[in-house]
Subunit: 633 residues, 2 copies
């Protein structure tokens, strides 16, 4: 049987948890299974067509000599094909899908043909540009190699085929032979855009060849001394995490995706080496991110100009960069931290990012994408079919494709449930025992989760109790309460299970007002609405005749939720009542500033219905203003 | 006698007002005269030293062959020398200053020597780069030419010398011969960075050669068709005002300084041609700016990534770009609109920008500059001695140098008083009659303005009644009330004046709370403090032991002002009492987001003194958080 874990920690001495195979879990819900089916039927085929239409595949054909012409587009465009191959590969795990297999094999054939005899592979640095290989560390050659390796690992794990893996190994060997310590006869180098680090750790795991791990350590060790130069002549060393040595980092800085991809690689390396300084740096950065640098939707990146981090508490809602890729990276990093530490806070963050800033990156119909996921908009920001820099689409796609692999992990004598979705799981404990579980839930719209244990035996069930849950949650086995002690985010039920035992977890989901730290000045006097793991927003289209930017939400206003099967794919909607001050309505458009007097205060106001939808579903209907942070009244 | 108006509308058929010579007015106050003296003694010499130290002057010497070497720095660095020359020239108007004259003559000698036989002059495009002249419209060749011409006009007007003017004319003729309609045997072109337009109108006024005016019309006419290409491969046509033909523009778009410099040139052209479509476009843009696109400090530019405009009402306070140059440009544009239309709203905006975002661009000691003037900061944004792109310093300097020239204008039988500062004026009406006026005031700290008329005669005094003034202002002549009707921003006193008549204008200056349009979401539930023309802010340094970011200002809190001669050069300080909620104080730094409950609301709070200083003076003491927009309570 296929064994295709996303991050294989089964032999990693410093990981507390083992990932399970993507196909060990079958999603059976509407929410995620439907999206994964959309991924197979619409999203992946659509991206494949666009990779053809935009010359990305032709770039490979030109490189291999199969076609005459010239490279077109950005120098990192090969990576979009690799990410598409990775997405398709996870989708293939455990499935019989001749059509998708044929698509994948065809693309792999083009990739393989473009590889040079020495293993080098990058369709931009061909012909007259061949002389410029490895001359500028921000030209993403190793970044592309990293995505090639990740695709190859996914393809090998999911299908057992070596066709792409052998290509990846040749390129990886080329890189390992070239870059390294000068006393080993190698040359200095690491990539301006981290990505290859996490890829090489997985290549180590697939091949058992430790040189890849040594290479990852080298790539991390050489950063932080300002030796990479400026990126495209514009950005300082912090942009590509070259200002401070990794083990001295105290906060996230520079380009968001670069920063968090690097942390993924460092976490993977830690899982193998257990080097404390790596873990300490990762913890410091995680703490900085979650207390000072992260948007409420799990998004990262406060500034457009560097696609990256700003100062502490700099979290402007309107021009939030919050790149979809950065949220995918946040999800990936927390997955790795979870595997290492088995701490539910990482599961919380995976959930937060997944529902609220990864998922927002794609339209409900799977045909259009956000690059940025702002928390405030006037209606102009709309998803696009594609981008000149098209990193985000396939990042969403590979996340959806691999999604079943994140619900559960195992450890000695324990099954860990991290994410809630109706599903069937056939897991294998480290000692080889099989455990089958059926999860019934209407999550994320209802917090009742039932696990039907299908296998008798003595093992622990570890249930993530989300950080967002308040008082009143319950956990029972076949109707009897069990110990509700939560240790590092998990409740544990250790017992001799009988087939047919029912674990029932009930997580109350009232609508909650959330406030942010007052140093995040942009959100002062405001609340956002969340229900369970879902962040809400208000959109103009649900409020005809009034402007949602004028809304204020009284502290006392009751907020209720009900499920609307016909709205934006079926979501729980939050209802309440906002007020609009007559003073605000009285602005005549002829002034931007005016004297504030007591008459300007919201002494008199109108009440108006407020209808909030999940943030991830915004911008799927008529354009208009959208707000997440609502001013209080 | 020297006649050195800044924008000479004395023969412009479509300008209602005539500028007076910079040296027709002698500032005698502490506020502006002190800063103009600082300009002479510290700012200009400092910039001259830095132009030497950074290779800017050497670039000219290399270009002329007087020195061996290579060009260093940005391709627009010549412009910094030209702006310095312009600043020094305005400073020279009416003064006997051998040292400054020598500095200016020395620099002009270097400039003149670098000019090519064909009139071309740009020290970047020399040697091997000479072949690349005029090949990329965003390499600022005409922008630099524009600053050369402005400097030459200022130098000629202020000193009567033609040394720089002749250089400028040769370069202008080179440009006029090359660029224009193809049916006249010329080639297409205009600059990616507007600036030359306003310069050439003034060159027309100095020389009487109408071809310069035709050239300005051509430069404006060819914009708006996307023919200039992308700027540095990064920006779209809107960045350099090439997306929409000028006469169809409805709002400001793209790079702020580019946009507003272009409007300066168009206004100057209108003053000569009276073309209604130009005026209409300018009015539309001015209306858009003042109702949807301008910061409360007169700053322009909401986005760092394009140094320019965002969408309507997009006015984030923290990463406000609000480039000092853009505020200078705003001042310059409104000066031109004022000359054309004689409408006090333009005088209001000049005053707003001057006090609150031009002046903030320089430290109190004249040695450090802001490029950006944000309205919210955590303490990291500090003025710099210089910048790699050093456009802002000399823009402040030339504004300070020319400042006396903006207080008054004249028209047929009328003297217009636009700006208030203690001063002596010796003006000449269009019919040749001399009018001398002495202005006594403690403005901007006190709204009492006394004008002592020194010349008998029949003429009108037009007094700007600022838009910020509320009820209770008074106007008297020698103690007797006069007609207070305000037409287009001016009160008019027409009479037979006797020498010794005293006009007394009293403008009450209570501390005002200002709110912004609710669509400017960032400022919702907030007020800014203004007193007279001065915007205030709170700085950490005045509030030890508390964090100003936690302050909220109750609507009922009394606000008073008193003058502190020892604080930041002597300013009126605003005093009041803020509150800090105990819930905000209870954040422990371990979370960025938390559940908002009634306990989180500001039910209990502490009172704490609030001390606000003029925004222009911030960041002159110990660093720390600064806020302009205060949340209401």
């Amino acid at each position: 049987m296929t064994c295709a874990p996303v991050v294989d920690t089964s032999r990693s001495p410093f990981a507390k948890l083992r990932a399970v195979s993507v196909n060990a879990v079958i999603l059976t819900d509407h929410f995620w299974a439907g999206r994964r089916q959309l991924n197979r039927e619409v999203i992946i085929p659509g991206q494949a067509r666009l990779c053809e239409a935009t010359g990305r595949v032709d770039n490979l054909r030109v490189a291999s000599g199969r076609k005459a012409g010239h490279f077109v587009g950005w120098f990192f465009n090969d990576s979009d094909i690799y990410k598409l191959l990775e997405a398709a590969s996870w989708q293939l795990a455990g499935s019989n899908d001749p059509e998708l297999n044929a698509l994948v094999d065809g693309l792999i054939d083009e990739v393989a043909a473009a590889q040079q005899p020495d293993g080098y592979l990058n369709s931009y640095f061909m012909g007259e540009r061949a002389e410029r290989r490895w001359t500028n560390f921000d030209y993403h050659e190793m970044y592309c190699a990293g995505h090639l390796i990740q695709a190859a690992v996914a393809h090998f794990r999911a299908t057992g085929k070596r066709s792409l893996l052998d290509v990846a190994i040749r390129f990886a060997d080329h890189i390992c032979a070239r870059f390294g310590a000068e006393d080993q006869g190698k040359v200095f180098g690491t990539d301006g855009h981290p990505e290859i680090e996490m890829a090489l750790v997985e290549l180590d795991r697939v091949t058992g060849d430790r040189k890849y791990l040594d290479q990852v350590k080298y790539f991390i060790d050489v950063r932080g001394y300002g030796k990479l130069g400026r990126a495209f002549g514009r950005f300082e060393s912090s942009y590509h995490q070259d200002r401070v040595p990794f083990r001295e980092m105290t906060r996230l800085e520079g380009h968001s995706v670069r920063a968090v991809y690097l942390n993924c690689g460092a976490a993977d390396l830690y899982a193998e080496t257990g080097e404390p300084a790596l873990h300490e740096a990762l913890e410091r950065m995680w703490s900085s991110m979650t207390t000072r640098q992260m948007y409420i939707n799990g998004g990262l990146g406060s500034r457009y100009e560097n696609e990256g981090f700003g100062t502490d508490y700099e979290l402007p809602p309107g021009r939030a960069h919050t790149e979809t890729c950065a949220s995918v990276a946040n999800f990936m990093w927390n997955w790795r931290m979870l595997l290492i530490d088995a701490d539910g806070r990482y599961g919380d963050l995976m959930e937060l990012a997944l529902y609220n800033s990864v998922l927002s990156g794609i339209s409900l119909d799977g045909t259009a994408y956000f690059y940025q996921n702002p928390l405030l908009d006037d209606g102009a920001h709309r998803r696009q079919q594609w981008f000149p820099v098209a990193c985000c689409p396939a990042n969403v796609s590979r996340t959806l494709a691999s999604l079943p692999g994140y619900l559960y992990t195992v450890s000695d004598n324990a099954v860990w449930l991290h994410h809630f979705a109706r599903s069937q799981a056939n897991l294998t404990l480290p000692d080889g025992r099989a455990v089958s579980l059926i999860q019934e839930t209407e999550y994320p719209w209802d917090g009742k989760v039932t696990i039907m244990v299908g296998t008798a035996g003595n093992f622990a069930m570890k249930m993530r109790i989300p950080g967002w849950v308040g008082a009143g949650w319950t956990l029972t086995v076949s109707g009897a309460p069990v110990d509700q002690a939560v240790v590092r985010g998990y409740a544990t039920i250790s017992r001799e299970w009988s087939a047919g035992d029912r674990i029932e977890l009930h997580l109350p989901m009232p609508v909650e007002r959330i406030e942010s730290h007052p140093f995040a000045v942009d959100n002062q006097n405001r609340v956002a609405l969340m229900r369970g793991p879902i962040l809400y927003c208000i959109e103009a289209v649900d409020h005809p005749g009034v402007d949602v930017r004028l809304f204020a939400l009284p502290d006392q206003a009751a907020l209720t939720a009900d499920f609307d099967p016909d709205l934006v794919g079926g979501v729980s909607v939050v209802h309440g009542e906002a007020i609009i001050s007559d003073a605000d309505l009285a602005w005549d458009g002829k002034a931007l500033y005016r004297r504030y007097t007591t008459a300007s205060a919201a002494a008199s106001f109108k009440r108006t219905p407020l209808k909030a939808i999940p943030y991830f579903a915004w911008a799927n209907r008529d354009p208009g203003p959208m707000m997440v942070w609502l001013r209080r009244a």
